[in-house]
């Protein structure tokens, strides 16, 4: 039994390493599976018979597909006719929910953000228009522009964290903040296997964050500004911030030295794409704090962020004591 657990752990580690961009939700899923396996074990037995357990395991795996349908049913009650919904990126749960509502005869229209740099919003657009749902792609930067036309935000997530917040494709947090400013509800669709015991204190406390993200180039500096730039060992807040105006000429100088944005590297119809070196300094996911989220639709029911954190605390305590 112990060896089985070890094997599951190893497999999980390998998976996480392979899919580095999806690591948070993968971690969550693996953790839940791990817990499920450990709940199967019979205490005091030297060996367990795996064969009788296999159907249970298969059922658990299949359940994850049905979960999306359960969530879609719950969501349908919240969608009124002629709703305009804004979504971000590509989430299978969300698309599933829209398709289900559409099949039931609701008239909805959807704005989806481009979701750079991966451009996942195009996939959502493709699937929705194929089904006959009016869908328009908007710029990531046009979210505030469009917010007044929108009735609600509906997004999926990579993971739900212990504070009741979510981790999702970068751009979700600002979408939620803008929605809050406009008093639009933010609904998150999250299967229960995405809930994790992570507790990020800020964006930079996420496991996906590293020193390279949002870092600055170390360019050769003119002598005057050297003393004003933050030194590596200086105790500061953990993101580098330029504090004096003397450093600004430094930036301008650097910009002039670099070649203009590479126009030949575009992979889609957009003509101006950031160079690869810069693209690597950007995050893939961000953390949306619970205060910006209205409701979470899960297979365990429709919960508020506080409700989810209570649920998570209870589940984790139960599993620790068992």
């Amino acid at each position: 039994m112990f060896e089985l657990m070890e094997a599951v752990k190893d497999a999980a580690t390998k998976l996480k390493r392979h899919y580095s961009h999806n690591s948070v939700s993968l971690s969550a899923g693996c953790d839940v599976f791990y817990q499920f396996i450990s709940s199967l074990r019979d205490f005091g037995q030297a060996s367990i018979q795996l064969d009788p357990k296999l159907p249970a395991v298969r059922e658990y795996a299949q359940n994850t597909k049905q979960v999306k349908d359960t969530i879609a049913d719950n969501v349908d009650a919240f969608i009124k006719d002629d709703s305009v919904i804004l979504t971000h990126g590509y989430s299978r749960v969300v698309v599933n929910a829209f398709l289900l509502s559409h099949r039931k005869g609701r008239r909805i229209s959807v704005y989806v953000t481009e979701t750079r740099p991966r451009g996942l919003g195009m996939r959502t657009h493709e699937l929705l228009t194929k089904a006959g749902i009016p869908c328009t792609i908007i710029l990531d930067s046009a979210v505030a522009y469009a917010m007044d036309k929108v009735d609600m935000i509906m997004v999926g997530c990579e993971a739900v964290v212990e504070s009741g917040g979510i981790v999702n494709a970068v751009g979700s947090c600002q979408m939620a903040m803008i929605a809050k400013a406009f008093n639009k509800p933010v609904h998150v669709l999250a299967e229960s296997y995405k809930w994790t015991r992570l507790f990020p204190l800020s964006q930079y406390d996420l496991p996906t964050h590293n020193d390279h993200i949002l870092s600055f180039d170390l360019v050769s500096t003119p002598p005057t500004s050297g003393s004003n730039s933050p030194l590596p060992g200086t105790p500061r807040r953990h993101h580098p911030v330029l504090r004096t105006t003397d450093s600004i000429p430094n930036l301008l100088f650097a910009a002039q030295r670099h070649p203009p944005l590479d126009t030949t590297m575009s992979t889609n119809s957009m003509s101006n794409v950031m160079p690869v070196g810069q693209a690597g300094r950007n995050p893939e996911v961000d953390y949306t704090p619970p205060e910006y989220i209205t409701l979470l639709f899960t297979d365990a029911g429709i919960l508020t962020p506080e409700g989810i954190s209570s649920y998570l605390v209870t589940m984790s305590l139960r599993s620790e004591s068992s």
Binding site: E162, S163, G164, R197, F199, L201, S202, D205, G233, T234, P235, R236, R237, H238, P290, E306, S309, S310, L312, V313, T314, S316, L317, R318, E320, S321
Partner: protein, 483 residues
């Protein structure tokens, strides 16, 4: 006949029939002649009530206590005056007292106000915060019946002189003292340990409460101790029972405080990144422990220790940090606004956690947390779960404690100030200026919205979810975690 008629009768009143025609002059005689007697009784009742009750009740006890006693006197003297016979008067007070006690709220309010005012003036006490337990008449433990163990007397003195401060320190000190008491205790003939020991312990607790109001964590631990005492089997030999109880106390200290602190250390350390700037406030045993452990394990960060008068507890923590080699900055609370922009995170300790996630802690904590929140700095409150209370408190005013004004004759802690000529004068010397009072509330309440996360031994809990913990513990143990 205003005094009795103003009281709505609920059929439990002693009918002072004969007093009707003599009413108003009777009443004037009463207030002039009986005033001193009333006040003596009121004071005695107040002392007994505050000593015997928990601090939450102490604020209420003085008010119901004088009321029945005054009601009793009102009714005692009116029949006495009316009938003119002492025989009925001696019986009437006894029955009147019982009935007045039952209908305690129904009192001559005018009388209460007058005597209350006089009380206040006489005492030169604080004119606001009168519901806080302030200086007591008659010294430590006045009016407590029952023999008090010397260990408790010593502990009470230490509490009153603020020699032992801090929730964990006080709780552990109290539990250790109770272990001594339990070992010294001998069950009297024909009584069971389970019942008698609880009764024996009660005045000891009252004595400690008279020194300083009960700390929440301490209260939780004592409640658990009483539970363990109550389930001691009648068949267990006395020494075995005493050893068992001492073992329970040791387990409590070890699991709920010492080991809990180790686990909190691990969780909190994981959040400290190299190069972080951590702000702390006053002194918390847990925060001190976490930061020293993190530094010893090789994490490199700097600390800003924020302190405030009159306790200046931050100095102690600062000394410990400097000893280990952590680069520190020391500032008073009025400087927090200037440095908060450079801070990565704030570590705070707690005296108690309420069920809605708000934190009751040293006065000044709420200020620091609020400033941090405004500047998007995460606020981590480090607290063991034994400090959890099912209370909901909405502000710092309803429940608090005032720092004792040091007695210039006995206390070495004198708070002084210099005038322009450089002459030192005692700030708190009341005799200098009778119009000036200084009050120092010791605690304040930080609302849960200003707290990012509670770091407990069961993990990182968002403040809104802390109440789920209590529900779970209850089911597991089959008893109340706290009141």
């Amino acid at each position: 006949m205003t005094s009795v008629e103003s009281v709505p009768s609920t059929s439990t009143q002693v009918p002072a029939v004969g007093a009707a025609p003599d009413g108003p002059p009777q009443r004037k005689q009463l207030t002039k002649a009986e005033r001193r007697e009333l006040q003596e009784k009121q004071r005695a009742a107040k002392a007994a009530a505050t000593a015997a009750g928990a601090p939450a009740k102490a604020g209420n006890a003085p008010k119901p206590a004088p009321k029945p006693s005054q009601g009793q006197n009102t009714k005692a003297s009116t029949p006495a005056g009316a009938s003119g016979s002492t025989a009925t008067a001696s019986n009437a007070p006894a029955t009147a007292a019982k009935k007045a006690a039952k209908s305690g709220k129904e009192v001559d309010t005018q009388l209460v106000d007058k005597t209350a005012d006089l009380e206040a003036q006489r005492r030169h006490q604080t004119r606001i915060f009168t519901h806080f337990v302030g200086k007591k008449e008659g010294g430590l433990g006045a009016g407590i019946k029952g023999e008090i163990h010397p260990a408790i007397i010593r502990l009470g003195r230490q509490f009153a002189d603020m020699k032992i401060v801090g929730a964990n320190a006080r709780c552990i000190a109290a539990l250790v003292a109770f272990k001594t008491i339990i070992q010294d205790y001998i069950t009297p003939q024909n009584l069971t340990l389970a019942r008698d020991l609880t009764q024996y312990i009660s005045p000891q607790i009252s004595y400690l409460v008279s020194a300083r109001p009960m700390a929440v964590g301490m209260g939780n631990s004592i409640r658990e101790l009483k539970y363990h005492i109550s389930v001691v089997s009648i068949d267990m030999p006395e020494q075995d029972a005493k050893d068992h109880l001492c073992e329970q106390i040791d387990t409590y200290i070890s699991h709920r405080i010492v080991l809990a602190d180790s686990v909190i250390e691990e969780y909190a350390m994981a959040k400290i990144q190299n190069g972080a700037v951590i702000m702390t406030y006053a002194r918390s045993s847990v925060v001190e422990r976490v930061l020293i452990a993190a530094w010893t394990r090789g994490k490199r960060f700097s600390v800003k220790v924020v302190d405030s008068r009159p306790m200046l507890e931050g100095k102690n923590m600062l000394a410990q940090f400097v000893k280990v080699g952590i680069p520190c900055t020391y500032l008073l609370i009025n400087g927090v606004g200037s440095v908060i922009a450079e801070v990565s995170m704030v570590f705070l300790g707690a005296h108690a956690i309420n069920s809605n996630g708000s934190v009751y802690s040293r006065a000044g904590t709420a200020l620091v947390a609020m400033l941090a929140k405004e500047h998007s700095v995460p606020v981590l409150v480090l607290s063991e779960t034994y400090k959890y209370s099912n209370n909901i408190q909405l502000d710092s005013f309803t429940k608090n404690e005032l720092a004792p004004i040091p007695d210039p004759r006995t206390s070495s802690r004198r708070i002084t100030t210099r005038d322009r000529l450089g002459n030192e004068t005692d700030v708190d010397d009341e005799t200098r200026n009778p119009n000036l009072q200084s009050i120092n509330p010791l605690y304040d309440l930080t609302p849960h919205t200003h707290i990012t996360v509670l770091v407990t031994e069961v993990g990182l809990i968002p403040p809104s979810a802390i109440s789920t913990l209590a529900g779970l513990r209850d089911k597991d143990k089959g008893m109340q975690l706290s009141v």
